[in-house]
Symmetry: C2
Subunit: 301 residues, 2 copies
């Protein structure tokens, strides 16, 4: 078996199975995308014991092919728990630690853990994108990756391996504020990288008083100093600027930062990195996921 | 009318009317507490237009006396909006800006705004406690007050006047995390100032990476490094330590910090201040509120 041939010669289905959504991609034996689907059947929508049926649903809607699954499907709330690969984690460690659920027919890619005296951190799903992007040339094999989502990951990649990373709760905090806080009424606008967003980024980059500045957003509206329409982009910028202040401590010199993920989020982070005087290179997360799945499939023993 | 006589010679009812609760205290003509009540009839539980009836409820349950009302009842979602008094705000400015809703029978105490080029901030309710505590000797007339609640206020008081303040969203963020976040499952324990709480305080005081450290709480539990029971006290300590790092910038020298509010919260902040090497003096917020209401009633023109 060479690196260029795939053991699954008739192709396979790669599934990015998250907490609230799942996305499946059918690839042929040459790794060409043939079909895709997305639905709201994330792991929280599947009752324990019903994952096998939820998996068969995908085969029924696509084809009865082998499956390579990544993301929260490998968590303790998913189908079968796939223990984390420790840092440094590269393509080889992910393949070696695949959790085979159906022999030769369904495997779950493990997440990655950073588990040292100083830091404890975990990821599930991003590792496929990052290792795949590095192996397939979508990003350099040595880079700092910023991977926004519900939880933003700052990931140091060396020679294609994830060597350390830090998670920042930015997306989830934004959603909590927008959904449930005293700012919720003001935060109905979509976030664009506009002037209010950039003011928030600048504040977050320069000051370590996020929890106070969040309240100022409300006070400025009440006192007539800012329109309510600024609240959502300013809060987003403030959270992302705060996020960058933590994450950029992992940057070396003036290296370009690889921003990987959904384009609506990478656009915001790239704009924020520009405010911080950094160069950002955006990589589409879906493309990286497919590249990662193919790379893993080619390495199957 | 001297400062020691009260215009409402038959006494009055002081109401601390918040977003989710209201507390009423019946005081006699000498300012002695005769009766009290508390219910869940906060301003959000009263429909616009029905405040007069909600007020009469109090009189019906206590006595048909004049009312002095403070808190969110004076907000734009309350009975009648009472415009903020600007900083510096003292007893005289609160009395002068009372919003009389029923002539000589019902007045709303205004909140206080800080409204400068550098900072915008607002409070409603804490000003009665602070001005009252300073006027009645429950705290010095010059002090830094830390007033925890849904939103913690750091308030500089000079000669009994509120000269500047900063609000930190600590309590609300804790509630959002406990109620709606990926940490919610781990945060069912009551918070005590235990070892996990103190570790959180130390982390928050020393590092400006709150939004990353919050995620580490989950990672440490998943990786078996911390029991889930530590999550709530550690998160509380982390938020309060972060809060202190912002607020203590307003401290002068090694002055004692006045911690005012509900005892279950002032205990936590006092323990955290001790971790920060500061002296804390706790003042019961309810006692301060009653003192403030009496002080204002004695100054009625």
């Amino acid at each position: 078996m060479t690196r260029d041939a795939m053991r699954w010669t008739n192709g396979f289905i790669a599934v990015d199975w998250g907490t609230t959504n799942r996305r499946a991609y059918r690839l042929d034996g040459e790794g060409r995308l043939q079909d895709e689907m997305e639905d709201a059947c994330g792991i929280l929508a599947v009752r324990p014991g019903e994952f096998a049926a939820a998996v068969e649903q995908i085969r029924a809607r696509m084809r009865p092919l082998p499956l390579l699954l990544g993301g929260m499907i490998g968590s303790n709330r998913g189908w079968v728990e796939a223990p984390y690969a420790p840092c440094p984690a590269d393509l080889g460690s992910l393949v070696q630690r695949l959790q085979w659920v159906e022999p030769d027919r369904a495997a779950i890619v493990p997440g990655v853990a950073r588990d040292t005296a100083e830091a404890a951190d975990v990821m599930r799903g991003e590792e496929i994108q990052i290792v795949g992007a590095a192996a397939s040339g979508l990003m350099p094999a040595d880079a700092l990756v910023c991977h926004p989502g519900t939880h933003n990951k700052w990931v140091r990649v060396q020679a294609g391996a994830i060597t350390r990373f830090r998670t920042v709760m930015t997306g989830e905090l934004f959603n909590l504020l927008k959904g449930h806080s005293m700012l919720a009424d003001f935060m109905r606008e979509e976030v664009e990288p506009n002037a209010a967003f950039r003011r928030g980024v600048a504040q977050g980059l320069a000051h370590d008083d996020l929890t106070a500045e969040l309240f100022s957003i409300r006070a400025r509206v009440l006192l007539g100093h800012a329109p309510a329409a600024d609240a959502a982009p300013y809060a987003s910028g403030l959270l992302i600027g705060t996020d960058l202040r933590v994450g950029l401590r992992m940057a070396e010199g003036d290296e370009a930062i690889i921003v990987m993920g959904r384009p609506e989020l990478t656009t915001l982070y790239a704009a924020a990195l520009e405010c911080a005087g950094r160069t950002a290179r955006q990589v589409d997360g879906e493309r990286a996921f497919i590249a990662g799945a193919i790379t893993i499939a080619k390495e199957l023993p």
